[in-house]
């Protein structure tokens, strides 16, 4: 039974976890860096401890300081949120060794899930379909070229230690393989200290559909349907929705069952997400397993009425899941927009600064998870997520109309600060998205269209090439980012 929980995170997710703790009667210990002394979560905390300077490496990634803070404050559990230490098996192990319940899977399970290539092997053993490609690391450029020729271009080279859209390169043709292989390995080594890479077929026309699973420590597992996260830019999710327009009830049940089977096969417990690609023909391929609560989890909460953080905490405390598969009901449609402090006109460059004005939406079936208050400073040290706006509607058109209304209520002023709210409205109103016919290339195509390069297949190919060329930059840009 968890009584006093330390939240080892910041921003909106720290606040999100604190709110559920209060609802459950669990005391909250908040931690913060010297740059976050005015964070809204501190007002909800029973105790707050400063754990380091602004740089995440010395504060939110500082295991000794966080564990000391937990000890000092008398916490009996730690919730890692997403990003930062949420998928660090060492952190989970140190917590356990210090008598703290880690809200997440067991450290040994996390350690095995840390390597994507290993996870693919485990999921293949559990009978989950994988994209054609290697499950094992590709050791030489010659091996890579041979495998790529077998599975057919375009292929994608992925860093085994990568995640959250980082450490991957799309290779459109054989002539570009050698350079992309070396660049991805070098980047992976620089960013993750692990140059191991593997290869997959790159599906065109695919949708990113992920299944939310919940497992307890008694061998029970359920799924709570899917989230469609196909609206991505450089593999970073911008809009998420449930249900997916690509899935029918039969496919949902099939993917859900596969996800639960895969999670239970590795001894998973807590909330987890199985990411899949789904092609035009309704074939689905396992991508990765995210062993944490995800940024977009409210979408699932809106359509199921299940508090995922509450379930995480219950399960971590040893209790069985509070509901069975037959009690999970998907109702209506929900959509989330991640409002980032970024300038879409400048390649989505982050725009830190002071939020002199911050008006966020409200109203019926409109949920806003924000980590800032008016007057707060958006620090250049952390990710640029300003607020998540989530709405529910009885069907998709109603949800889209509601989101459009909500987005118009956003007013953000501050020197140098821009937001992606306007960009989100453009996405929602785009006929391809509105019709639910978009793919994971939608944002690239939309941006290319706006720049007047048209949407013919040749140009799309050029887009993939540009994406590949930008990967180095992406890796460097995102080396300190922590968005899930």
């Amino acid at each position: 039974m968890i009584r006093r929980l330390l939240i080892a995170n910041r921003g909106e997710i720290a606040l999100r976890v604190a709110r559920t703790c209060r609802e459950l009667g669990i005391e909250v210990v908040a931690v913060h860096s010297t740059a976050d002394g005015d964070a809204p979560v501190l007002a909800l905390a029973d105790e707050a401890v400063c754990i380091g300077p602004p740089a995440a490496k010395e504060s939110y990634l500082n295991i000794p300081n966080i564990v000391e803070a937990a000890r000092q404050a008398g916490a009996d559990a730690v919730h890692p949120g997403y990003g930062f230490l949420s998928e660090d098996p060492d952190f989970a192990e140190v917590c356990t060794a210090n008598g703290l319940v880690f809200v997440g899977p067991d450290p040994e399970v996390m350690a095995r899930l840390g390597n994507k290539a290993v996870v693919r092997g485990l999921m293949a053993s559990a009978g989950l379909p994988l994209l054609p490609g290697t499950e094992d690391p590709v050791e030489t450029v010659e091996d890579g070229e041979r495998i790529a020729a077998e599975i057919g271009y375009p292929v994608i080279i992925k860093a085994a230690a990568g995640g959250g859209g980082r450490g991957m390169t799309v290779v459109p043709a054989a002539s570009e393989f050698r350079a992309a292989y070396h660049a991805t390995r070098a980047s992976a080594h620089a960013v993750f200290r692990d140059s191991t890479v593997y290869l997959e077929k790159f599906l065109t026309g695919a949708r990113h559909v992920e299944i939310q699973v919940l497992c307890d420590r008694h061998g029970n597992g359920i799924h709570l349907g899917e989230r469609d996260c196909s609206v991505q830019r450089r593999h970073q999710k911008l809009v998420e929705e449930a249900p997916s327009t690509r899935l029918d009830a039969a496919l949902r049940a099939e993917m859900g069952a596969a996800a639960v089977r895969g999670a239970l096969s590795v001894g998973y417990s807590g909330a987890g997400t199985m990411e899949f690609l789904v092609d035009d023909g309704g074939r689905f391929y396992f991508m990765e397993l995210n062993a944490r609560i995800q940024v977009e989890h409210p979408v699932t909460e809106m359509v199921t009425g299940v508090d995922l953080v509450a379930e995480q905490i219950r399960v971590a405390g040893g209790a069985p899941l509070s509901l069975s598969q037959s009690e999970v009901e998907i109702s209506g449609a929900a959509i989330e927009c991640r409002i980032n402090a970024e300038d879409p006109g400048l390649s989505f460059a982050p725009t830190p600064g002071v939020l002199e004005r911050l008006d966020l939406p409200g109203g019926p079936w409109t949920r806003v998870d924000a980590g800032y208050l008016p007057g707060s400073r958006v620090s250049p040290y952390y990710d640029s997520l300003l607020a998540k706006v989530v709405v529910w509607g009885p069907d998709r058109p109603a949800a889209l109309a509601r989101m459009d209304r909500a987005l118009t209520e956003i007013r953000v002023h501050g020197r140098g600060i821009s937001t992606t709210a306007g960009f989100h409205r453009a996405v929602l109103r785009h006929p391809v998205f509105a019709a639910g016919e978009h793919t994971i290339h939608f944002v690239d195509e939309m941006l290319a269209g706006e720049m007047g390069t048209g949407g013919d297949p040749a140009q799309r190919h050029a887009g993939a090439g540009r994406q590949a060329a930008d990967t180095m930059e992406l890796l460097v840009d995102d080396a300190t980012a922590v968005t899930a």
């Binding site: 010297t34 740059a35 002394g37 005015d38 401890v49 400063c50 754990i51 380091g52 300077p53 504060s59 500082n62 000794p64 300081n65 966080i66 564990v67 000391e68 803070a69 000092q72 002199e356 007057g375 002023h413």
Partner: protein
């Protein structure tokens, strides 16, 4: 409904400008002005001196200490437990009024069973110990104040 003509825009803008100028004269220093032409909107924000440049959560005495350049504030370099002596029952490393040399151990902060000595940054005199022995401390918390210099050569200010 037709779009307002160019002239109408100019007229609206002119009226808004007049309005802003009038409102801005009312009182105080203007911090921000927002105008919108077609929507006929005027927004003026006055300076809110309280809300400006408030440093994040600092103990009351800290600004005063910060302003003084004759002292060094020793701060916690990590989260842990503050100890003034090497072990229970032993005499403290230093006491208030005691002269210290640069590099001398002033206290320790224990974390994860590791003892982290706090060393004097300069020669001086222990002016104040702000935290009790055995108390938990957070990162950056002021722990001790050391007056710089060991001779009595004060600046002799007013």
């Amino acid at each position: 409904m037709s779009e307002p003509a160019e002239d109408d825009h100019a007229a609206i803008l002119h009226a808004l400008t007049q309005e802003v100028a009038a409102v801005a004269k009312l009182s105080g220093a203007v911090r921000r002005v927002a105008m919108q032409a077609a929507g006929h909107s005027v927004e003026v924000e006055w300076s809110d001196t309280e809300a400006q440049a408030v440093p994040a959560r600092v103990p009351d005495q800290e600004p005063r200490l910060e302003e003084r350049d004759d002292v060094v504030v020793v701060r916690a370099p990590l989260v842990g437990t503050f100890y003034t002596a090497p072990q229970p029952g032993a005499p403290p490393f230093v006491s208030v009024g005691e002269t210290v040399e640069k590099g001398q151990t002033l206290a320790i902060v224990e974390a994860m069973k590791l003892m982290n000595p706090l060393l004097a940054e300069c020669d001086g005199t222990v002016d104040e110990v702000l935290v009790g022995n055995g108390e938990p401390v957070e990162f950056d918390q002021p722990l001790m104040v050391v007056a710089k210099g060991d001779s009595g050569k004060g600046e002799g200010g007013p």
